[in-house]
Symmetry: C2
Subunit: 277 residues, 2 copies
């Protein structure tokens, strides 16, 4: 009746191109889960806000294709904007609801609406059995898992570990917006998240101490030269860690620390999962 008829499993790795080692690791994971790996390269206009870096986003298709050949990707799907959006913006929208209004959704209004529609389109065009997304975009991954459940896609969604430079900076195409001196500062973000994770991991912390820790971290990151969009601690499903106004309990929970911060022209994302207690 459906994809089971196919002889071969197809994996999709959606990207915006300008590929780095993080993307290539996604392809390697894809190859472990499928016979055919399709990498899409599309700088999606609907997920960029007014004044964001859509026009300047690095486009390096030839280099990307060469890199993909080295890791054995089978197909590159690199459509034009016109092909993807005969009508732009498309009247039909795919919205993620409450999960998308916080964190990056708050600093980038409409961003996840663009993600919702382009991911739906890529799923419908490529019809993969499995799709691989990086955990660096933690909220995006959660939104896509929700979309797959809510729209009944029979696609397995795999979150791939964050790939980091030797000094800990999470790899990102936007890292190239950093000046040389900013690049030296950038790994502080990861180090501060690691330190916060260590302090939360043992559990037994009061809400007051928790708030104070977060405040201290925000100060340290700001003092290092970042402009913070957010630094927050959430449950694994991006719910609040404060269960009601009077209760604070992060014992025996999987939590995630998430940060978005500007350093010069680059908006950097990072996150850290923590199993508490």
């Amino acid at each position: 009746m459906d994809k089971q008829d196919r002889q071969q499993r197809i994996a999709l790795v959606p990207t915006m191109g300008n590929l780095h080692q993080g993307h290539l690791e996604l392809v390697k994971i894809a190859k472990q889960h499928a016979d055919i790996v399709v990498v899409s390269i599309f700088v999606n206009p609907t997920q960029f806000g007014v004044g964001e870096d859509f026009d300047s986003y690095p486009r390096t298709l030839d280099e990307d294709v060469a890199k993909l050949a080295t890791v054995g990707a089978d197909y590159v799907f690199a459509p034009s904007v016109d092909a993807m959006y005969p009508v732009l913006p498309p009247p039909t929208t795919v919205l993620a609801g409450a999960i998308s209004s916080q964190l990056c959704g708050q600093s980038r209004p409409g961003h996840f609406d663009g993600v919702g529609i382009v991911v739906s389109k890529l799923f419908n065009i490529v019809q993969p059995d499995v799709a691989i997304f990086g955990q660096k975009d933690y909220q995006q991954l959660a939104i896509i898992k929700q979309l797959v459940r809510d729209l009944s896609y029979s696609i397995e969604i795999i979150g791939a570990p964050i790939i980091r430079a030797d000094d800990g900076l999470a790899l990102s195409s936007r890292n190239q917006y950093l000046t040389e001196s900013e690049r030296q500062v950038a790994p502080i973000l990861h180090r501060e998240l690691q330190d916060l994770a260590k302090q939360l991991k043992g559990g037994g912390i009061s809400q007051q101490a928790f708030e104070s820790l977060l405040k201290d971290k925000r100060t340290r990151i700001s003092d290092a030269g970042f402009t913070i969009d957010y630094l927050e601690v959430k449950t694994e499903a991006l719910g609040s860690v404060v269960s009601d106004s009077t209760t604070f309990n992060i014992e025996n929970k999987n939590i995630v620390i998430l940060v978005a911060a500007w350093l010069g022209r680059a908006r950097l994302l990072d996150n850290q999962l923590v199993v508490v207690g």
Copy 2:
């Protein structure tokens, strides 16, 4: 890469069950376009508003299955509400935009949001090559065509002609809400649309005469005992027939007359396509 790998073409006929001859004609059309015909039967809660007839909507699965066997449907997909909506309402939404805010969208707020998500789910579960929808739900058909384009589904959408009783009433599961005397009155709706179509068909009509014709029709339908939700004339794509505030031109256009009106407990829909001039 995709559905072309399959040996057989699959058609989907989405229904809410309580099948009448109109539905069976959809199946017959489906069989002309595919090797395998899947009929879904699902009274979709997300497309019913508060106070609407979700609870009382007729559910007749055994009879439906028997009827489908007579026209050669291959599979019936009749999921439970829990299976379709593990979380209800689903946080992810599929919205149709401007086209959905007029006509039925105005009298039934949220209705087409429910249609958008359930149709997306059925497409993703059944993965058809072609899907058949009745033209009686003209606005729904237009919204689904837009959804298929905007979300890049590779599914052919076929609109099937309205099936009518001998006296002209469009077949509908909701016709059974009519009392015997209301049932005698109901065909007036179709007759008045036909009459309006005849008067518009020749063209050469002024906007004033057009408005006056519409007003007269509304009066006649109301006087017959209907409570009108809307009686409107639109372009084929559901745009305005008045191109700007001073111009009225329906010459050489495909237009559609659409009506929704209550008769007793039944909300009746009908429409009539007209090629003008």
